[in-house]
Subunit: 301 residues, 2 copies
Amino acid sequence: MEPRWHARLADPTGGDEPAVNVPTASAPIGVFDSGVGGLTVLRALCTQLPGESFVYLGDTARLPYGTKSAATVTRYSLKAAEALAAYGVKCLVVACNTVSAFALPAIRGHMGAVPVVGVIEPGAEAACSASRSGHIAVIATEGTVRRGAYQAAILRLRNHARVSAQPAALLVALAEEGVCSGAIAESIARHYLAPLFRADLPGSPPDTLVLGCTHFPMLSEAISAVLPSQVAVVDSATTTAAQVYSVLATAGLLKPAGSAACAGAPAVRFLATDDAGRFARVGSRFLQRLIAAAEVELIDL
Amino acid sequence: MEPRWHARLADPTGGDEPAVNVPTASAPIGVFDSGVGGLTVLRALCTQLPGESFVYLGDTARLPYGTKSAATVTRYSLKAAEALAAYGVKCLVVACNTVSAFALPAIRGHMGAVPVVGVIEPGAEAACSASRSGHIAVIATEGTVRRGAYQAAILRLRNHARVSAQPAALLVALAEEGVCSGAIAESIARHYLAPLFRADLPGSPPDTLVLGCTHFPMLSEAISAVLPSQVAVVDSATTTAAQVYSVLATAGLLKPAGSAACAGAPAVRFLATDDAGRFARVGSRFLQRLIAAAEVELIDL
């Protein structure tokens, strides 16, 4: 496919001249994740922006990012952003919390005029709207928690908030494996959540839980089963899609009404860096629609 | 560090001339794994070959390999083998079941005269020695099971054996997370093992279980707790170390007795491709001795 660049692509061999891309309304929206987790965000985007087309890239050859260092996550993310830039995307959605936590400024530096939307700010917004008490719990990958990304984003929005964050690595593996409800999923959810909601901690317990990893909405049944009933559960998907809508509308980049190819689901082009069959199989559960292996194009970053 | 090559290194840019390395007895033994799992094999090597020195490489920037395709695993493995070849290793131990399942011939093709020992054949040997009935169960990564690597290796040794294999991805995440015993570990072990040992299956149940992933020995307590008591549990570590000893002895490559630097633990140089701190922290549990972050050198493949 011919890149729809007006000038030239960023130099993937390491030059630091940023890419120059002038976004147009007819172009697709790029969505990037370390693997299939971001498909939960793509689902919300398809619902809220049914007239748009999408290019989704999952870096399945190097997932997961959640246990990797900031330097490595940034290096991988820039390569993925460059690959999506070559598809002439008009907006880049970073549908991965770990990448959003570590690499947004670097990605923005590479994407020129193309707006870049991460999932941490929208997730923090959803949490602040939902919380009455201002005590918010976050579960996320090791990297996202270590970076303090949700903590900082929530405090920027609500400076007297209290944030309790907990890395929850096994939940990623559970969601990938499809063990999303039942006794095993609940016992692991309890393992991570119980310390956040212990009755003997000082102050009032959190009244809101942020699912700070795009895998976690897959486990919402198990998570709700072990949470105190009054706790609100929020994730980034819906608020991220709303923010993408708002960014595109402001920039005059929404596709004209009536230009959707058909009345059905939006057109999505799936790219992965490894194993189209596995992407299709596991991804179908995350997107809640069948992805055929033949729909998934393998690319090398 | 100056590579101890007698001729020249393989061309990492893709030329397919194999590396030419003439192994010498004084050189270290190279050990390669996708991450920290192979440290369970290194531990057995240190016990059986206390006079040797080792270079251990964990490709932590791209782990896990167990869910990735044969092509990707092979590509990553060749880069790791080339990196270890540059340390002049006299033998390369592939301490990762997934790599052993997919990439041994390719690695051997790149290592010239340096013997390459995988973990599947030694694991199959241990299983065939332990099993009376010839019905052997294997738990391993998705890649190792899909490849049929243990199944083939066991049938080569014992052609009337019956092998029941089960991928067990969550056990890898559990071992990395340090949830190695207790109710959660046991419930997940039961999730994978119960289908292999169901009483209503035709024929006699397996009498031997192979831990076909180097992470799984970390969970041996939980695994034993949910297994029928008469089932023997074997892994590759001890038999792999024995095979390395035998290969080196046959080739006259054992370090001369008395050449060990000190009477304590063998010298190990740790290399990782990402996050020295995490390698040290998680790896200490796997090696059962403290690894300091400062001992871990970061390299790029």
